[in-house]
């Protein structure tokens, strides 16, 4: 980007881009070889064997020129070359679909026709994304309306952004600069206006940009005030070891395995939290009743991401077994609304030291 001159090859600005370009080179070489081979044969045969006079060619016995051998050769060689394309492409894809464990988290909400971006530390932007160079960035994406697609050609990566679901995309920018962000899935009237810019900055510039902030709290802090505003805490305890018997304790929940009342187990990831807020009846934790009302319509996708981030910040407590299921006890009585202080992770979030026991990407 930048200069608006004529270019024939996109800039490569992510750790994966070089691999994609190498695979592209292989594909171009194989394609060029076969295209030229076929074109040469067609032209050569058309000239060499052009019809002269009325004489018909002598019938060619296919066996005499190794018909069967030829058929096998020109089936097996393309198959072999194709399987290399398959394996090479699959290995790049698997790298692309598995974000590294300690990635910097960014949350993206697509809506007709803009990108809303939230950083864990609280900074928010529209149609712009600022990220530090040489850091793994993991995006969690969702849509408020139709399907969009978050595409940065310089990073050679894109992912569909679906309503009602979280998808993930990650990249490691390797080159400082400003790059196109496109919506690549047709989304209506201003589809071609749903574009933006990704700014890759050095660490110091990024810190400075971040410190300007939006003047609001971190996502977890905002999630906490939303949590209180919606009255979630009147039922769900969020302090360690507190139980009220009516609703599961949310402290130490995120990333653990939860047992449901039908005996199945589910991982408490972003998608699970989101579903539990909007469709509480879908998955009932073992030992609890189906009493939670839906919050559908009361909380936006942005808000849901904040709630998820707040619950994530309550994280699995250190040393807790990761499959701990909150056990209801009979210590009843109304609990005061939970008021935990902003947790350490959110406070440290700027440095990006996410806990290593982070949940695996939930949605692929």
């Amino acid at each position: 980007m930048g200069e608006k001159s004529f270019e024939l090859f996109p800039v490569a600005a992510s750790s994966i881009a070089g691999h994609v370009d190498a695979l592209y080179a292989y594909l171009v070489l194989v394609s060029a070889f076969f295209s030229l081979l076929i074109a040469f044969c067609v032209v050569f045969f058309a000239v060499k064997y052009r019809r002269k006079g009325d004489e018909l060619p002598k019938p060619v016995d296919e066996h005499s020129i190794g018909g069967m051998v030829l058929e096998i050769v020109w089936s097996v060689i393309p198959l072999g070359l194709s399987l290399v394309m398959f394996a090479w492409g699959a290995s790049i894809f698997f790298t692309e679909s598995r974000p590294p464990a300690d990635s910097l988290e960014v949350f993206v909400t697509g809506k007709q026709w803009m990108w809303k971006i939230q950083h864990i530390e609280g900074a928010r932007e529209i149609n712009e994304l600022h990220v530090p160079v040489n850091r793994d960035i993991r995006l969690t994406l969702t849509s408020e309306d139709v399907i969009h697609d978050f595409y940065v050609p310089a990073f050679r990566t894109k992912t569909d952004v679906l309503p009602g679901r979280y998808t993930t995309e990650w990249f490691r920018p390797t080159k400082i600069g400003a790059y196109h962000l496109f919506c690549a899935e047709y989304c209506g009237t201003k589809h071609s206006g749903m574009v933006g810019t990704v700014y890759v900055m050095n660490e110091a510039d990024y810190e400075q940009w971040l410190s300007k902030g939006s003047g609001e709290g971190s996502m977890a802090e905002e999630g906490q005030s939303l949590f209180n505003q919606l009255g979630c805490g009147t039922c769900h305890p969020s302090e360690i070891n507190k139980q009220n018997g009516r609703c599961p304790n949310l402290n130490g929940l995120f990333g653990t395995t939860v047992e449901l009342n039908d005996g199945t187990k589910v991982k408490a990831d972003e998608a699970y939290i989101r579903e539990s807020v909007l469709y509480p009846q879908a998955k009932i934790v073992a030992g609890y009743d189906n009493i939670m009302p839906t919050f559908k319509g009361l909380v936006t996708e942005d808000g849901l991401l904040k709630l998820v981030e707040y619950i994530r910040s309550l994280g699995p407590a250190e040393g807790m077994p990761s499959s701990a299921t909150p056990v209801p006890t009979q210590t009843s009585g109304p609990q005061p609304p939970a008021q935990p202080t902003a947790n350490s992770r959110a406070a440290n979030g700027r440095a990006g030291a996410a806990p290593a026991n982070r949940a695996a990407p939930g949605n692929q």
């Binding site: 608006k4 045969f45 064997y49 019809r51 009325d54 020109w74 398959f86 139709v146 209506g188 589809h191």
Partner: protein, 541 residues
């Protein structure tokens, strides 16, 4: 119009044996129905082409300065719907399949002549729905109708357009059914399966896809209409549906539908290459069974349209490897066509130019499909102009080159007239050049990252877009020339002999144009389809 230009000679043929408009609108003759279809698909091709021209005109500049975004979105949607459902899918099967399958197998007609006429009316009613949508203000979902945009957000006439495609689909199912039964039951005495022309094998495979695949798109569109009209949740998460389910169902038909478009074209090209090489096709059985293999494997690769849609990575792997396997039968065909010319007696007639153009363009279209089947590569390229270029190389470079090759090859048989060889060769070359100039730059645009369906685009993409638009105007001229000399030939062209090309298949053994009953005496077949003997030698071409 065609009825008004009977050949000047008194010889009886299917044009002059009955007269009047009613004799056409109520005909059961597969040849007349084929001509009704020819009029229909040509009309829709022209409409779809006008939209293509408007798209390329708008994209000549990066700004959205010709029309507004809503109008642009309707342009590419109408272009896609009309070209895919009303031109490409019926084009070769309904025109050449209808005309030639009974002739090639030595039959008097298809198995169900009334059903055949009914399928033309169904097609026209479907087309009428689409034209109505067009006149009312169009639809803006893209031809893919992705949910929940199409069910909950689009302001266009989605239901009417969906109904139009739903209806036209039944025409496709009935035609496929008719062909399958015809090929099984109506072959002339002695015409065993391995004596059949390869055109018949290609249409048999196509018919299987039409019969098995089309009901799925009908169901999908029906669910879409229910959700849009009655808010019954199938696809929109707001009603508890799953938007990706729509994509699975849509592509379960629409990927095999690509083979409905290309397999008949492959059949046409096989006939042309063998005739103008005066040589039996190399690897007859491999070409025949590769058609069947494409039809079968084509049904299990749909997921390669969903690599970035939130489908599981393992499902992606399975669909990727299957997509490579379906590419092999296509490669086998290309190699066999090329080998057919080896030691043949090649004549570069107009149909042959189209067939050789087909080989070149289809090869590029097929090879670039390998890029998109590769998972890591597809993540970058999907939904960009690379995809647009790829499928136009297959659909336009493949299917339309085959259609035009077929028109020029069988024109003397269908209308009994020869066209101007000089003009037709010139237009074939113009189309080839114009096509490449239009679509090759789009591969580069795609790798640069220009998304498809963009009304406004960043200025650094302009040079390639201008090249593409310039190519489109060359292509448009290339398409207009055949209209002129073909219509001219109907009135002023010299009469065609029964077999002007020295071809061996049965349709050339009867007069041009054929009589209503096709053959005076039912032929008895004693040899393979492509047995070239010196008595077939003629001096045309």
């Amino acid at each position: 119009m065609i009825a008004a230009t009977p050949p000047t000679e008194i010889k009886k043929n299917f044009f002059n044996q009955k007269q009047g408009l009613a004799s056409w609108l109520l005909t059961y003759d597969h040849k007349r129905i084929a001509i009704l279809y020819l009029l229909g698909v040509t009309f829709f091709f022209a409409i779809g082409g006008i939209f293509a021209a408007l798209i390329r005109l708008e994209l000549a500049t990066p700004a959205g300065d010709l029309v507004d975004s809503n109008t642009y979105n309707k342009f590419f949607t109408m272009h896609g719907i009309i070209m895919v459902f009303l031109f490409l899918i019926p084009s070769i099967p309904a025109v050449f399949g209808n005309f030639l399958i009974p002739l090639m197998i030595g039959a008097k007609d298809v198995a169900f002549p009334r059903l055949n006429l009914l399928s033309w009316y169904i097609y026209m009613i479907g087309g009428l729905f689409i034209i109505t949508v067009l006149l009312m203000g169009g639809v803006d979902t893209g031809w893919t109708f992705y949910t929940p945009f199409s069910t909950s957000y689009s302001n266009g006439y989605v239901v009417a357009a969906g109904m139009g495609i739903f209806i036209a689909g039944f025409s496709s199912i009935l035609t496929g059914l008719n062909f399958i039964v015809t090929i099984h039951r109506m072959r002339a005495p002695g015409l065993t399966w391995f004596r059949l022309p390869l055109f018949i094998w290609a249409h048999y495979a196509t018919s299987m896809i039409q019969v098995l695949g089309t009901p799925v798109i009908a169901v999908t569109l029906f669910l879409l209409v229910l959700e849009r009209g009655l808010h019954i949740g199938f696809f929109d998460p707001a009603y508890g549906g799953d938007p990706v389910l729509f994509q699975h169902m849509f592509w379960f038909y629409s990927h095999p539908a690509v083979y409905i478009m290309i397999l008949p074209s492959m059949g046409v090209v096989t006939e042309i290459i063998t005739t103008f090489s005066s040589k039996k096709p190399f690897g007859y059985t491999f070409i025949a069974f590769s058609s069947v293999a494409i039809a079968v494997f084509g049904f299990i690769v749909w997921g390669h349209h969903l690599f970035v849609s939130g489908q599981s990575a393992y499902a992606g792997m399975v669909f990727s490897v299957l997509s490579y396997i379906v590419a092999i039968p296509s490669a086998i065909k290309v190699f066999n066509w090329t080998a057919t010319m080896y030691k043949g007696a090649v004549r570069l007639t107009t149909p042959m130019l189209y067939a050789l153009g087909f080989i070149g363009l289809f090869t590029i279209g097929g090879l670039t499909g390998l890029f998109l089947a590769s998972l890591g590569m597809d993540v970058h390229l999907t939904d960009t102009y690379f995809v647009v270029a790829h499928f136009h190389y297959v659909m336009v470079g493949g299917a339309i080159m085959g259609f035009l090759g077929g028109i020029h090859y069988w024109w003397p048989k269908i209308f009994g007239k020869m066209y101007n060889e000089g003009w037709s060769k010139i237009s074939a070359v113009i189309i080839f050049i114009g096509f490449n100039l239009t679509f090759f730059p789009q591969f580069l645009l795609g790798y640069m990252g220009m998304p498809r369906r963009y009304h406004v685009y960043p200025p650094e993409f302009q040079v390639l877009n201008v090249l593409s638009s310039a190519g489109a105007s060359v292509l448009a001229i290339g398409y207009l020339i055949p209209f002129c000399y073909l219509l001219y030939s109907l009135k002023y062209g010299p009469d065609a002999p029964p077999n002007p090309w020295g071809a061996t298949t049965l349709e050339w053994k009867t007069q041009s144009p054929p009589i209503t009953q096709n053959f005076e005496v039912t032929p008895v077949v004693t040899q393979e389809a492509y047995t070239y003997t010196t008595e077939e030698v003629v001096h045309v071409g």
